[in-house]
């Protein structure tokens, strides 16, 4: 587990998370995240052999409900939430071409 996060690694995490806080804030995060990761090293001292990971407090997986039609949000309600739209479509910047990010 251990070891301080390198600057390069923090930049990589930010990129994966689609965040670009800038060099100054990234340096602050680097120190703060390293301190937290150092703290959580104490888990290494536990005897976890044969202990099943527990992802949820519920014993069973998510419950299914009957597959029957019911009231849903209207397309108008949903499209009203979008920052930009054209008729009943969400409008976004161009996805393909121009050296884009596709």
């Amino acid at each position: 587990m251990a070891q301080d996060l390198s600057r390069q690694h923090v930049e990589r995490i930010a990129r994966l998370a689609r965040l670009d806080p800038g060099p100054e804030k990234l340096a602050v995060y680097q120190g703060q995240l390293s301190a937290v990761l150092k703290y959580v090293e104490r888990l290494e001292a536990l005897d976890l052999d044969g202990v099943e990971p527990m992802a949820s407090p519920m014993d069973r997986a998510g419950a299914m409900r009957a597959d029957s039609p019911g009231a849903t949000l209207s397309p108008a309600d949903l499209i009203a939430m979008a920052p930009a739209h054209f008729e009943s479509f969400v409008r976004v910047p161009k996805v393909l071409g121009d050296g884009g990010g596709a």
Binding site: R18, L46, P53, M54, P57, M58, P83, K94
Partner: protein, 506 residues
């Protein structure tokens, strides 16, 4: 123990029970009650910053409707249990009225097209939603300082934090704006601010209250729950909001309404477990003193105090600050500026990804960015096993500690509830921990394990710190087995029938 009086007999006039009864008896109209609440919020909020929005017009319309319904029903009609009661909703719980901001630039203009199930059930039971309350952005934080709309201040001492993340819900009820509020609790976000503001608050069993309409932070830990002055005020709100919801796949299909009358059963013979870890030298001296006084009060009430051990309690914060950020990084991936929330400006020809990154960087505050990055790291290739899976295994050990404490098997402690502090110290000063996130995380030492295990936890006012210039509330916590909410409320109610900490005001 100071002069008591049975709280259930003569609650102070700002208590939920008193307000409900005065309306039911026809002494006050809903309009009068709601007008009072709006006046107090309007004059008080500039000091506490507890609220993100006051829904004055909407609340007055609703009050008029309820008064009209009342007069057409006639004076003998049985009213719904929260008829006319003003309630404040944490602003990460969706309401059709007003906006649902999560105290984030990302959602500052977001309007939900639906009510959360918990809100809908409150309204069905007659409550009047009067305001949305401030919080740590997306419920991430334990001080109320990480809000895009500025920090919330503690009504007991405006230079101190109210706790978080349900900072505004706690400060609003403590300041008397409304008799009860909804909060949400992922690692202590109801219990810790309730403790620091002198309130009673409960985080129900995971699955007890629907999460539909609660903006997701860490889905295996989040629960909605009520905060009010006393257990007897919390009970009817919990009764209103709990119960199975087919719209939440993690909603428990357990018997719901249990009846507030169960609170009055004495606790003679009940077994309360005090973990050795709760008598920590890291506790503030006043917290240690109040713990021992609380134990003495429960003994006097006929409860049996049992020394227990939660050997993995020390792993709680470490496991929590891996699991919660991991789930947060996944849940908050939805904020990409496409379908809802903030969208940053992009220039012609810039790729879609630039819009994602700029929207998220502009929209999220520092604590949210930190947690997303922490979660991204522990889930990333090469680190997943070492951090995330290790934390999930530690989580099971923490749950087993509690299971063992509650076990009735021969030789096991067999306690009905665990008693420990809600927080290691009373409210700290604004700004004191803001640049050192780890120091703030350590304040969650008594609360996070309860979320990891999915158990109900209740904090209640149990005394005061008088060592400084201001009198600051101190809260104790009860933890029960799954679905044990009514036992916790009953224990707290019996404590409150012998003490008057819950009747103190700033």
């Amino acid at each position: 123990m100071s002069g008591a009086g049975d709280a259930s007999q003569s609650p102070r006039p700002d208590r939920l029970l008193a307000i409900r009864n005065s309306i039911a008896r026809g002494e006050r109209s809903v309009r009068e009650v709601v007008t009072d609440a709006i006046d107090r919020m309007t004059s008080g909020n500039p000091r506490t910053n507890a609220l993100t929005q006051i829904l004055a017009d909407e609340a007055m319309v609703r009050a008029a409707e309820l008064d009209a319904a009342r007069s057409s029903l006639g004076p003998a009609a049985t009213l719904p249990p929260l008829f006319g009661v003003p309630m404040i909703i944490k602003d990460n719980i969706c309401t059709r009225l007003g906006r649902t901001t999560c105290a984030s630039r990302m959602l500052e203009n977001y309007r939900s097209p639906f009510d959360a199930t918990s809100v809908r059930r409150l309204v069905e039971d007659g409550a009047v939603i009067v305001a949305k309350s401030n919080l740590d952005e997306f419920a991430m934080g334990g001080s109320g300082e990480h809000s895009a709309f500025g920090p919330t201040r503690n009504p007991w001492d405006l230079s101190r934090v109210p706790g978080g993340s349900s900072s505004g819900s706690a400060a609003a009820v403590a300041a008397g704006y409304a008799p009860a509020a909804l909060g949400s609790d992922t690692g202590g976000s109801i219990r810790q601010p309730a403790a620091l503001c002198g309130l009673t608050g409960i985080k129900p069993t995971y699955g007890r209250v629907s999460r539909l309409g609660l903006v997701a932070f860490a889905s295996s830990l989040d629960q909605v729950g009520p905060m009010a002055h006393a257990a007897a005020d919390v009970a009817p709100v919990l009764e209103a909001i709990m119960g199975h919801d087919p719209g939440d796949s993690t909603s428990l299909d357990a018997d719901a309404r249990q009846g507030s009358e169960l609170l009055t059963t004495p606790i003679v013979g009940l077994r309360l477990g005090v973990p050795s870890q709760a008598r920590s030298s890291a506790n503030h001296a006043s917290v240690s003193r109040v713990l021992e006084q609380t134990i003495a009060t429960f003994r006097a009430a006929g409860a049996t105090i049992v020394d227990i051990d939660l050997p993995h309690a020390d792993a709680g914060i470490a496991a929590y600050y891996i699991i919660a950020p991991a789930e947060a990084s996944s849940n908050l991936a939805r904020y990409d500026g496409v379908r809802f929330g903030r969208r940053a400006a992009v220039t012609q020809g810039e790729p879609l990804e630039a819009m994602y990154t700029r929207s998220r960087t502009e929209g999220f505050g520092s604590e949210v960015q930190r947690r997303i990055m922490l979660g991204t790291h522990v889930l990333s290739s090469g680190y997943y096993d070492a951090y995330y899976l290790t934390a999930l295994r530690a989580r099971r050990l923490i749950k087993r500690d509690f299971d063992r404490a509650f076990s009735r098997d021969p030789g096991m402690p067999g306690v009905h509830a665990v008693l420990m502090p809600a927080t290691p110290s009373p409210a700290f000063a604004l700004g004191e921990k803001v640049s050192d996130p780890l120091s703030l995380y350590l304040e969650d030492v008594y609360t996070v394990g309860v979320n990891l295990a999915g158990l109900p936890g209740l904090s209640f006012p149990a005394g005061f710190d008088t060592s400084g210039t201001a009198r600051l509330p101190i809260g104790m916590q009860l933890v029960g087995p799954a679905l044990g909410e009514w036992t916790l409320l009953r224990i707290a109610h019996q404590f409150q029938s012998l003490t008057d900490h819950h009747e103190q005001r700033p």
